[in-house]
């Protein structure tokens, strides 16, 4: 599989269909690697220990200046590329996916092709069983127990924003926490600010999160961020049939509405 991946990447660079390939390095932890020469494509690997969502790099101005770019993309990253396309964050034709899965190189795709690949080979991607179990565990607790659980978890948050940096969906040039006129979210790594930050971060991903897990993997404190993301993901699917990453022209869930949306909880 690696051979096929590396050859395809080298070919893209040779043919100048990409000037840069963003992939995973053959080192412990599988950090991101940036390859611009065909002969360096031997550095590219992919396996299940790759946890970064490489689509996050598309938000970096330094990399936007080096388009077109090819990104090694397992299914969750493919979804992110499609979401970014749907949200007009990627100039058309400037990003290609080197699609991979556990043991196969699946080919080179543009956003439309990636969406079709996902629909045919990876339909209905959702939270893994273990994650759903974590959500179920938490849902069994009382409101007060849940509040205490999150208070304890959020107390560990240092507001390093590794979660935000890891997420391709967090691409605001000025994040809400960085607005100080007025200061909407306390920047102190204390209870109330931590609660607001973590809840709003998750909420801003509603209907957009591709469940790549990069945020939770990046968190130095081990916060269970995926639990927040999974709950919103399932709710957005159930209520609004939200399937982020399956349609490069998909309308954003929060930015659109239907007259039939539920409001049974409104008095």
């Amino acid at each position: 599989m690696m051979k096929a991946l590396r050859e395809a990447a080298a070919k893209l660079l040779q043919e100048k269909r990409a000037v840069l390939v963003i992939g995973y390095a053959d080192r412990k932890g599988r950090p991101a690697v940036f390859v611009s020469k065909p002969e360096d494509c031997g550095r590219l690997v992919y396996d299940s220990s790759c946890r970064q969502n490489l689509a996050a790099y598309l938000g970096k101005p330094e990399l936007r200046a080096r388009l077109p770019v090819a990104v090694v993309a397992p299914p969750a990253v493919l979804r992110s590329l499609v979401v970014l396309t749907a949200e007009s964050q990627i100039p058309a034709g400037q990003v290609l996916a080197l699609a991979v899965d556990h043991d196969a190189f699946l080919g080179v795709f543009d956003a439309a092709g990636a969406a079709e690949l996902l629909r045919s080979k990876f339909p209905d991607l959702g939270p893994e069983k273990a994650l759903l179990e974590r959500v179920a565990e938490l849902s069994k607790k009382s409101a007060a127990e849940r509040a205490a659980f999150w208070a304890e978890e959020f107390a560990k948050c240092t507001r390093c924003y590794a979660c935000r940096a890891a997420c391709p969906g967090c691409y605001c040039s000025r994040c809400i926490v960085e607005k100080n006129a007025p200061q909407w979210v306390s920047t102190a790594a204390l209870g109330h600010g931590n609660y607001t930050w973590n809840v709003m971060r998750a909420f801003h991903q509603s209907g957009r999160c591709t469940l790549c897990g990069a945020c939770e993997a990046a968190c130095p404190q081990g916060l269970p961020l995926m639990v927040l993301n999974a709950v919103l993901d399932r709710e957005a699917l159930a209520e609004f049939d939200a399937r982020p990453g399956y349609d490069p022209e998909g309308k954003p869930v929060i930015g659109s509405w239907s007259a039939e949306d539920d409001h049974s909880y409104m008095r």
Binding site: A143, L228, W257, M266
Partner: protein
């Protein structure tokens, strides 16, 4: 049909502090109507007027809880009646998801309330305020169990 709503019960130890985010054209007007109709309703709600529920960022709700609100009410125009055509539809989507997220973190239906109140529904507004206030009074102060409150 009720023409008068019950006044606030006398001398209780805990008086809830409830923040309400309402839209200008429907709910706020409905509240005005309750007032001009001399309907009595609990004074525990502090009303914050916005042009439309579509303007209400979920962050406002969190700030209210940060500042110590025992409960929050969000209220606007009935679907189809929005002064800005679709603001309340956008809002509705947000709230459906937001309330699930908040419930996961321990802020549930006993603390976060949503309603549609039109400009003609002065009685509904008064009843709503009394009902919500009574429920929150029963639920008690949110201080200790509020995960988002400022220490």
């Amino acid at each position: 049909m009720k023409t008068e709503t019950s006044a606030v019960p006398a001398a209780t130890a805990f008086e809830p502090r409830i923040t309400a985010f309402v839209c200008n054209w429907c709910t706020y007007a409905g509240a005005d109507l309750a007032g001009t109709s001399r309907l009595q309703y609990a004074p525990n709600m502090r009303i914050i007027k916005l042009p439309c529920t579509g303007r209400i960022d979920p962050l406002f709700v969190l700030k209210a809880f940060e500042d110590g609100a025992d409960a929050v009410l969000v209220s606007g125009c009935h679907p189809g009646d929005c002064h800005y055509t679709s603001g309340n539809y956008h809002a509705r989507r947000r709230w459906t998801l937001f309330r699930k997220l908040l419930a996961l973190t321990g802020i549930g239906d006993d603390r976060l309330f949503f309603s549609w109140v039109s400009a003609a529904e002065g009685q509904k507004f008064a009843d709503l305020v009394n009902d919500v206030t009574a429920k929150v009074r029963q639920a008690g102060p949110f201080r200790a169990a509020n995960p988002g409150r400022r220490a």
